[in-house]
Symmetry: C2
Subunit: 351 residues, 2 copies
């Protein structure tokens, strides 16, 4: 088994009280949120970071741009449905799309471990080339560093990206309103369980493939159709549950979800049951939620379903006044429970 994050801590203490960095501090859960709030935000306080969004929206000469970054440390480097290269392009493309931007330019920073097979690097670079072509972005600047054997883990990639915001929309958690419908573009948990199956050498009856995909076209279809999108968020580390908690917290609203409305494939459901994971917390790399006014929800779903990677679009919940920051889940048998943020991540190094 992988070393587990301490997500099971029932009473987490503030990050500042941990004398050392834990795996859970990178897990997309409460400890990461605390690390950001206690170490990074106070140091760099500015309106962009204050938005708590997937990227920063900058204004240059009257043009709005989105700017974002992610490092990729996924293990293993290759998995069903993609590899670290596909992920490094699509992940950053998706963060730009979540700002309502058309992704245009990427940077790539490679940290190679001495001894990495050159063939591995070539394969990953080819994946990046293909993913960039599919997403319509150009990789325009880069950097390579090599660290001594034993001081890295084969290959880490950072990408940063710039996108152009072509619509006069304001998208972000602070735009979420009571009454908004919460829409999801497809079934959950495939990326995380695809990684898990390779790591643990598990064979499932139907092999699970990562959902890794670029979501910018789907977002553009929504905006081109004039849908008034309030917030978008891709469901990576920490899955649907983490994204909902972050948005509820920043928006100071309550979000109510319906478990029966959230699609999870039989294969993922089965794998999660065997391994003791909850698909609502498992990472995805081609799934997003869109918050739109209730009156526009059906039209938005139509647009999403006609878009690439949106065939399985569905409505999974709504925003209510309620308790600021609270996320609830109504189970299949009708009981409503709190869908909390975990301390860490069920699966470390998922992206």
């Amino acid at each position: 088994m992988e070393p587990q994050s301490d997500f099971s801590l029932s009473c987490p203490v503030p990050a500042s009280q941990y004398p050392h960095v834990l795996l859970a501090h990178g897990g997309g859960g409460r400890l990461m949120q605390q690390l950001i709030e206690q170490v990074f935000i106070p140091a760099f306080a500015n309106p962009w970071l204050g938005e708590r969004h997937d990227g920063a929206v900058l204004e240059v000469g009257g043009q709005r741009l989105a700017f974002t970054t992610d490092s990729y440390v996924v293990r293993p480097l290759f998995f069903p449905g993609g590899d670290i290269g596909t992920l490094a392009v699509n992940g950053t493309v998706n963060d730009l799309a979540m700002c309502g931007a058309r992704p245009r330019w990427l940077s790539a920073g490679f940290i190679l471990e001495e001894g990495l097979p050159m063939e591995t690097l070539r394969r990953v670079v080819q994946s990046m080339r293909l993913a960039a072509a599919v997403a319509g972005v150009q990789l325009v600047t880069g950097d390579t560093k090599v660290v001594d054997k034993g001081k890295g883990d084969g290959l880490f990639i950072n990408t940063a990206g710039i996108g152009v915001i072509e619509h006069p929309v304001r998208i972000g958690p602070r735009q979420v309103r009571p009454g908004d419908a919460v829409l999801l573009n497809g079934d959950l948990g495939r990326h995380g369980m695809a990684i898990m199956s390779v790591r643990e050498g598990l064979e499932f009856e139907s092999p699970i493939t990562s959902d890794c995909a670029p979501l910018a076209e789907l977002v553009r279809a929504l905006l081109d159709a004039g849908v008034d999108v309030h917030c978008l968020r891709d469901l990576t580390r920490g899955g649907l549950a983490a994204a909902m908690n972050e948005i509820a917290d920043t928006a100071r609203r309550q979000i109510d979800l319906e478990e029966s409305a959230v699609p999870v494939s039989e294969a993922v459901q089965g794998a999660c049951e065997i391994l003791g994971f909850d698909p609502l917390y498992v990472a995805n790399e081609g799934r997003l939620v869109a918050f739109v006014a209730e009156a526009e929800a059906d039209r938005a779903l139509d647009v999403m379903r006609r878009s690439p990677h949106g065939a399985g679009a569905c409505r999974i919940g709504k925003v209510v006044e309620g308790s600021p920051g609270l996320v609830t889940l109504r189970s299949r048998i009708g009981a409503q429970r709190v869908l909390d943020l975990l301390s860490g991540e069920q699966l470390p190094r998922i992206c």
Copy 2:
């Protein structure tokens, strides 16, 4: 001693013939150049990468922007005159400045190793905050990943940056012309030897402090004064020699340097002699060369000397028709020799 890059290989073979990544592939020398030319450029071929500059120049709605990235893997994390945080801000600020841009916004991606003392992270983040304030940039978006103990080396940082180009200049190696004067803003080798002194526990009579500094104000002073700057390059990995070779190669010109004109402090010279390093190949983090038309050289030097981090500005050589790609050095006793690119770097993980 640190593991040495194989820079002493007398007859390097193409990178593609190395089955595995070597430390030297990240060293700023010939092997890194080959890796870029044989693996990255063919995959991502586009006009931006073709410029072979420190960053990409993008055009958005009539406004030119510079975009660049660097990962920082320096060891140790703290050294006289700075730390990995200072470096991560100034390095990217300087790459933007080398494009003639006013640095504006940075992203930061942290890869933390499980077990990193939280206090170390706080110190580094404080250094970044200070360096960003000094350089006048905002850190607007970020990402944190944690890797298992033994799969990283404490802390790696990637920064990407966006700058605004406010002058109608075209700066880059392809603008270099025969007759251009080569100007340098101060003495060489301090960053590399400061790192080396800590790594090896050496104590020199006068302690050597890194020259790590933001160079954007100096560049802006040149542009504001109307100096027609053809090319700028900061002298990081591989030092002056690597930068000169890269520029001579891209510009298809010959560059002749005068050894006696290149300032090296007594302390750095002494340390280099003891340790067997050549200061012309040692990394700097606050030094640049500027290529300007001969007629503007004296005025440019005046401007540089009045700017922050330019007090020691001097003329060190000139561009001639000669042999494309050749860099020569006239020694103190008058002999002219080829100043070649090393295969790797004398000092791995210097930035």
